[in-house]
Symmetry: C3
Subunit: 348 residues, 3 copies
């Protein structure tokens, strides 16, 4: 698609700086964009690249407009505007819908209009798939599951039985929804399996990244709220509840029965223990272990900064004796106090 800067400005509520007839047909990075490509400046890390950009135009915040050598779209939220413009210029190409002759769709499954089911996908009995939803190749949708409208199961997505997926879900390759949770009970002769009887419920506008797994509930359901975005390789344990519009980065592990609030931001490799609660609007930085409930909105951390290994080891060796060090410090304080007191007495 080809358009002009002026039309983009109108459509996405931006102030246009420079020639509104500038042609735009592509997107690019500040240092990679060529003719007809629009770039954006949102992360201050890349601000030094602005002055030399060869982009046809740049989407940027008001404070950067003066330093832009090319035409610009000015908006307080340039990344959000970029996302919209990129989607406008490059709409998802829809294949013509229909059920592949190489798919197996149960006769009791109900498919809405313009649904696609790709080759080697299995749609089991009593599944409902909403209109215009796309099920790519190699997917399995278990019996009794309900998929909303306009969903996109990219490929090789596994949905176990009785899951409920809202509208506009995007499920990347390798996603597993509704695997059994890790429910085991210890008896005298070892561990036995605790039947996992709940389901998984995803709200609307949820995206789930590649190879992320979401276990079904053990008794109640595992529930992912509207607008939640999960990155790749996340593990969501059984009975977990994730509040609306929370976003979680890659490789996070969430143990069973924990409840995460709304609008939280959880960074990569964070580990969340089981049976705890995290308030709304909590931010957790990378690789933190959340070992207790978080009652208040705020930012929480738990990972140490990397060092050159020699220095790291010296510090880490001291950490192993930190309790002793604290005792030595306390004794020293006491000794000095005592000494001062004694001298005070001596002075008398």
């Amino acid at each position: 698609m080809s358009t002009t800067l002026g039309e983009l400005g109108d459509r996405f509520d931006c102030v246009v700086e420079g020639d509104p007839d500038t042609r735009i047909s592509a997107v690019g990075t500040l240092d990679g964009a060529g003719p007809e490509a629009i770039a954006f400046l949102a992360n201050p890390h890349y601000r030094p690249l602005l002055s030399a950009t060869q982009a046809a135009a740049v989407i940027l915040a008001p404070g950067d407009a003066a330093n832009c050598p090319v035409p610009a779209l000015v908006h307080t939220n340039p990344y959000y505007v970029y996302a919209q413009i990129a989607g406008f210029l490059f709409p998802l190409l829809r294949q013509s819908p229909g059920v592949s002759e190489h798919a197996v769709v149960d006769e009791n499954a109900k498919l809405g209009e313009n649904v696609t089911v790709g080759a080697f996908s299995v749609v089991e009995e009593d599944v409902h798939i909403g209109p215009r939803s796309f099920v790519g190749p190699g997917c399995t949708i278990g019996a009794g599951s309900i998929i909303g409208a306009d969903c996109r199961l990219v490929s090789r997505v596994t949905i176990c039985q009785r899951a409920k997926i809202g509208d506009r879900a995007i499920l990347q390759p390798g996603v597993v929804i509704g695997s059994d949770g890790f429910g085991i009970a210890k008896g005298e002769s070892g561990w036995i399996k605790v039947p996992q009887l709940g389901a998984v419920v995803l709200g609307d506008d949820v995206e789930v990244g590649a190879n992320t797994t979401i276990d079904r509930g053990s008794i109640k359901d595992t529930v992912i709220g509207n607008g939640v975005k999960l990155d790749n390789q996340i593990q969501v344990g059984h009975n977990v509840i994730i509040g609306e519009h929370t976003v979680i980065a890659g490789c996070v592990g969430i143990s069973g029965s924990s409840v995460i609030g709304r609008r939280c931001m959880i960074a990569g490799q964070v580990g969340i223990a089981g049976h705890l609660e995290i308030a709304d609007d909590v931010v957790v930085t990378g690789q933190t272990v959340v070992g207790r409930s978080i009652k208040q909105a705020g930012v929480y951390s738990g990972a140490l900064a990397m060092e050159e290994t020699g220095l790291w080891r010296r510090n880490a060796a001291r950490f192993r004796k930190l309790d002793k060090m604290a005792r030595r410090l306390a004794r020293l304080e006491l000794d000095l106090k005592q000494k001062t007191a004694n001298e005070g007495e001596a002075d008398d």
Copy 2:
């Protein structure tokens, strides 16, 4: 299935408190169970919910019986009893067995009686599958593999060649068994692959969670003992040996050639380095790095507690100078000692 509290008590060796004719046809949580549903109290975290429960009955320990407002099954191990009752009330529905017309089964594969092979599954040459085992849709079982009786490969499970799986294994979607281990050797012009020639051997009663990967051995086999339970997204490196009845939570990484004892409990996101040994009955808490062998049963930890980020950063900044701090402390001790000694001399 519908039964009575009395029958459950008899069957699972519990003391029945209250009306043994109480009808039970469902399970529920303490705060969610309705009529005819039995709940359980095992985790003390949920004890406050007991007094208001609407469950038809509760499975609980002797110490909680007096506070239960409804009929109860009393047993010293309520969670274990719950697991059995849930399995009794909700037995796995078996589809009628048989090989899907959409599966590819090699003519030299041997399938026991009442085996199921789902659509789009591939069973290669010389595979043996034991009686009543269920191979769901989209699975691949590599040449020469042996699968025991009563196994359940839920769907989209990949088993590479010559694996040996015991009886009653449960393999969740996305599991990979027998991928090549990370064997590389450095030469002058870069890394070359070390052929991975071993296999994977799973004992009986093993469960493997969604998207967990177990690499084949490089020369000998990778061995998972009887009764081992692995959660989702675990990585088991080549040549690893895991002892019987050990349980491992999600996102754990186990490097090659390590040997883990029996009845261990490894919590989520733990990392285990290569070529080490962990004794029987070891517990490792979440996100610990096991960087050396553990010779004795016990509990081991290595992750710091999360803090509000402001406080965290102040402490973490001090950590970066911990070695210096220790030296300053030692000097201070020396100075004070010296001073005291000098004063002693001065006093003389």
Copy 3:
């Protein structure tokens, strides 16, 4: 295949100690090898096993030759020689090539000579696959992708559209290449998806482990250099660039837009934050958080050593007050200095 020690020595440039006619037809470990099996000693951890080995011969370094009780191949890099010998003795058995009748290959896809496409694999339009490449069962290769020569997609590999894979790639089961990156932009009513428009480019001789995911670039491409080896369950974010011959162990997470140098070695469970740069020849030890750029070659660490939990907790509790402890130490230093100064004055 069966050969002699002498022939192996000639072929792989080793000094032969002992009878060059020793027959070799297998490989084994130092403590497991039987007749006709050659073992190796590379990791000093296993040196104590040398004296009792029953192997037919051992590949080892010059310094170990004197202590070897059996014939030997002596070379400065025994593991590298072992890798070559194992590959020589056990070449990958190639199935007869050809496209399975159960595969779906688009009429506009181009397959080189002797390509294999397994059952239930999908090759979409405009895909090119180079000669002798093996695509196992259950793979999906997205439209416009280019696969080089002599590649091996073991099974159930997903390649999204327009990926470019070099020659001799090995992709283990469950690999996802080209999933959408985690691009989301925050607006007033929640997060919206940022279209992911780039691709993934893999160089030659790349191996990718089971269930590893590599996201497509958001605008530019995600690029994996020649000779890079990735272990299992790694997450590579969008726009990441990994330099040639870098090796990365399991469960590592690499956030978007970071650039990793050449010949780096990244250990398991390391987390690399986004938008940073790592120099060539950097080594990062296990579970380190790389939260800032690394400008210089060297070794970097960030994980504390595990302890028995009682001791760990005592130290960790002190860590929570480390900043206060540092202030107390500083005050003590000051107090003592002051005191000494005062006494000095008093002495005057």
